[in-house]
Symmetry: C2
Subunit: 270 residues, 2 copies
């Protein structure tokens, strides 16, 4: 029986989704692939993102996965429909779970969403939100400076606040919306900084957490949950430098007190 959940991402952002999956589904085994060599995807063309995503998917299909999580908003925006159509396993992207959680959280129906240029230009969040409720007001904003900062390992401090303040400035006045979607899986790593900038009155929705929760629901409904309590060893692959990737993953899991995780790190040639 196929037992693993496959997770693909353009790099390390998807580790926030992986972390939530491991926390919320401790009996499930993950196989993660981060395309760190070609990261970031955010400013790449649709064609490139689609080609790279399919390369990653093919790599994971050889590993016998039972469900695929596309843990990158840009890849979700450009490929989720064709992946759902062409794969015979369930596919979950990060956009719809984030949209649903935002609708659940918002009281005044004014929702802001930040993401990479690719995600925002694709209008995926606006479509996902307004398909469910046509009366929502959505404020989308591309924040191209945030991912490079996170990729450098800067998650807090004065410099982070300054970069975030400048990036979020076009969303002023911040009291116009009551909910902000972190439409990029890198952003949960600087959630505190973003909360500080927009103010405490804003509900911040992390598509990472919500995607893990919906994965849990879908595995349950489809009767694919791994119910054997067993010693789980996860496999994490990177297309880039193994040492940098491993260090970054450990830093992320550590800062979020993930406890002892049994992860085998390896280089992947696509």
């Amino acid at each position: 029986m196929k037992q693993s959940i496959g997770v693909i991402d353009s790099g390390v952002g998807g580790l926030t989704v992986a972390q939530e999956l491991m926390r919320q589904l401790p009996h499930e085994r993950l196989i993660y692939l981060g395309d760190t060599k070609r990261c970031p995807y955010g400013s790449r063309s649709e064609e490139e993102v689609r080609a790279f995503t399919w390369e990653m998917v093919r790599f994971l299909l050889h590993k016998e996965i039972k469900l695929l999580v596309v843990a990158c908003n840009t890849a979700t925006a450009f490929t989720i429909d064709e992946l759902k159509e062409q794969l015979d396993i369930p596919v979950i992207g990060v956009i719809n779970p984030g949209a649903r959680a935002a609708i659940n959280a918002s009281e005044n129906k004014n929702i802001a969403v930040i993401g990479t240029e690719g995600t925002i230009k694709s209008k995926s969040y606006v479509k996902a939100l307004q398909q469910i409720d046509a009366n929502l007001d959505v404020y989308p904003l591309a924040c191209p400076t945030l991912v490079p900062m996170v990729e450098q390992g800067i998650f807090s401090g004065d410099q982070a606040v300054e970069v975030a303040e400048y990036a979020l400035e076009p969303l002023q006045p911040f009291h116009a919306f009551d909910t902000l979607i972190l439409g990029c899986t890198h952003y949960p790593l600087i959630k505190d900084v973003i909360q500080h900038v927009v103010g405490d009155h804003v509900n911040i929705v992390s598509s990472s957490e919500e995607t893990a929760r919906e994965t849990s629901a879908l595995l349950d409904v489809m009767e694919l949950l791994n119910t054997d309590v067993q010693h789980v060893i996860h496999e994490f692959y990177t297309t880039g430098d193994l040492k940098t990737f491993t260090e970054m993953a450990k830093k992320i899991f550590d800062e979020n007190n993930s406890g002892r995780l049994n992860i085998h790190y390896e280089f992947a040639r696509l």
Copy 2:
């Protein structure tokens, strides 16, 4: 095409689920059936609850529903498996969504759950939680005095606090857990009272909100979302006194600022 979401409940508690469904899915049409004549189900035998639930389900199947929400924890505890097995439409209960949201919310893995005698005795929440994470500590407590109070329309005030304090006393010390599941759809109506009693450090998870969110996710994944923006008229049926039921529903929707809802209320003979 079947366009409505069917919702069944032992009485008025499920209105909190209906309210969230209408808020989170404004383009969907609901057909609600509350068995107020035979409410509450909480102290009834499993046999009775199963028989009554099937009568409600048959009533709704004649109305061409595309999905069934069992908005009553007691009915979910006793019938969800057989309903899922025997119906050819998707069936969602209130227990698993609440369990998943609690796992998402809890940091210390100590989760309390309150419900009716039937729900607590069935151990459904304990099973649902520990199936996902065997290392959770779960504190279940039956609170038989809360539903009768809510059914009398008492949602706040000194009397409500006193009743809740007495009912929740066995969960002391309240700092032993960081998350509390409201395992009965009546309880969201006294959420503020319960939060006041257990303290602000406790995350309170409402199975009503969470069930609406998972319904949204499931309709999306199964491509059953009603995407036509149209004038939606909901149908709400009661097996008991129509006037009392209508007044209670309006009071609940009103107190929660649900805005203008287009609902047709009617008596149902099962």
